[in-house]
């Protein structure tokens, strides 16, 4: 420990050191206008001298506000969720709010545990990823007294409010685009949709668009991988797909990293993109536009989702609210040369 000896400095210590009563010191901080300027200055000097830092734990017990906001993301490492979290943090910082961040690893149980802890810590608001929750989580969030945001997707049944984009529509649009380009053997590669509404809606979008165009969707049309999505996973998948007797002429990756992996493998192995196979991704990391063959993908602004989620929460906490509506951040089809 740095210097374990120093006991905590409390308001009472400030009162003693300054020779003023506890209430006056308290007032100087809470209702400065009721205290003489000289007195205030004297108190401020004492605070600086003895290094008083208010105990927010005690304060929040009284004020019934913790000024903390709980956020659950499924993963942080090399993903857009890091942008998301940073966006949240960026909005919270000037508002003197702190972010409690939990990583759920796509596990409903871990999410539930995180939510329970947030509530126990009196978080003022809770932001979770997506709509796939355990029953208990749903119950906890339903009873929770503050704003709740389900981020990254949009659906009709919302616990409280949602900020995200229409994953289903995005997948539909990309799929239609690929069909329109004339590709005959389109394969979709997506993350496991078990307990993952985003993967589920994207997959549904793909299937509906395919069937809507009279294309058949068989077991071979859809390939699943386990989260987290990685570049390496993409390398493995492209090899598997190009090794089939019936090779796909277009692959729609529902995540950006595997798409990169596939692109890189093709580049390294003399497979022409989009000549031999077209590749589309989902997410639009900055790398995508800079590849030798710039990659077609669905652009998503993770940072915007974070900022809007946090703004929504703050607006409602501060009464600047806005009802508990859903916010569509949108997405954008980035057509580039890989398709």
């Amino acid at each position: 420990m740095a210097q374990g000896d120093n006991r905590k400095v409390t308001l009472k210590d400030v009162s003693k050191a300054s020779g003023l009563s506890l209430i006056t010191v308290s007032r100087a901080l809470r209702q400065p206008e009721t205290v003489h300027a000289d007195t205030r200055a004297r108190i401020q000097r004492t605070i600086d001298e003895i290094g008083y830092i208010p105990n927010l734990t005690a304060r929040s017990l009284v004020s019934q506000r913790s000024d903390m906001i709980g956020v659950v993301v499924p993963i942080l490492a090399s993903s857009l969720f890091a942008d998301f979290a940073q966006g949240v943090s960026r909005v919270l910082e000037p508002e003197k709010q702190q972010m409690l961040l939990a990583v759920s690893d796509w596990s409903p149980q871990k999410e539930e545990e995180a939510v329970r802890t947030f509530i126990a810590r009196q978080a003022d608001a809770i932001i979770v990823t997506g709509f796939s929750h355990s029953d208990t989580t749903r119950k906890l969030l339903g009873k929770f007294s503050g704003p709740v945001v389900e981020a990254w997707n949009l659906r009709d049944s919302v616990i409280d409010s949602a900020v995200g984009f229409d994953n289903y529509a995005a997948a539909v649009e990309m799929t239609r685009y690929l069909i329109g380009r004339g590709y005959q053997d389109i394969v979709m590669v997506g993350g496991a949709s078990h307990h993952n509404d985003q993967a589920e809606d994207r997959t549904r979008g793909f299937v509906d668009a395919m069937r809507g165009a009279g294309r058949s969707v068989t077991q071979d049309t859809i390939v699943e991988f386990d989260n987290p999505a990685t570049i390496e996973g993409g390398v493995a998948l492209i090899q598997q797909l190009l090794g089939r007797k019936r090779k796909p002429d277009a692959i729609f990756f529902l995540a950006e990293l595997p798409a990169h992996g596939a692109m890189l493998w093709c580049m390294s192995n003399g497979v022409s993109v989009p000549g031999d196979v077209a590749i589309a991704g989902f997410g639009d990391l900055s790398l995508s536009a800079l590849l030798p063959v710039p990659m077609t993908t669905v652009q998503i602004k993770g940072r915007d989702i974070g900022e809007r989620s946090a703004s929504l929460v703050m607006d409602r906490l501060e009464g600047r609210a806005d009802s508990a509506a859903s916010h569509d951040i949108g997405y954008h089809l980035q057509i580039r040369e890989s398709t």
Copy 2:
């Protein structure tokens, strides 16, 4: 709000609903062995029924522990710091500790603000990035009563403990390697070293290694960019460098993303790597090994740094300590084909 009406359920409510006294209920939770099993079961049933969740804020006021650990990172989006934060979170989760995460944006002022808030919130421990702090931050952390970890670098003067790797040595080693490969015009590209000990030490390592080998280091030898380091920045930098009358034959990027940008630009523009110019990075993202010309870089395990930092903190909080030593996570020169 989800259902603003529901007031908070307290221990007292459990006591009333169960017909047992407050102390018995409290004991059932704190010292279960002193309460009859039947009574405990009855209490548990009531808790489940009325949905009691203990108020950790109140608890920590008494226990003088918050079970929260403050973490400051300079950036989260597309960086190894996301791996780091996830590593921290992964270790804290089973220990029932929560992570308070703040993003400083490389600003000592924001870092100071974050540290002050962590202390005000009674965080049990604080993990910051690096050794570059404001005087006040240093003072605050010095007086702080819990474990303090400065992560991502190693130096002699530590506030309390450090977990990281020797940035100086890593840069020296890479530079020596490049010199050994016979490159004559080596240029280093690094982030601004103002308020950034990592950039500072890496730059120092480069300069010392160059001078140690009798190479001159001029204004042209070192190029600085503003953080955050981006792929796009690398694209701009490589063009600038290859546009010089005297072109470098090797470029050592002190960050991975700009190195990727440079590699991609070269690939797209017919510049041969390492034929025309050699490129080395720092960080080793998974992409680096999979580029058509796999990239030489310094491998760093951000996740390990996070996990070790959190383990160190937990060991000391739980008395399983280990003194406040520094922990060297190490680094590894990944020699690949780009040099």
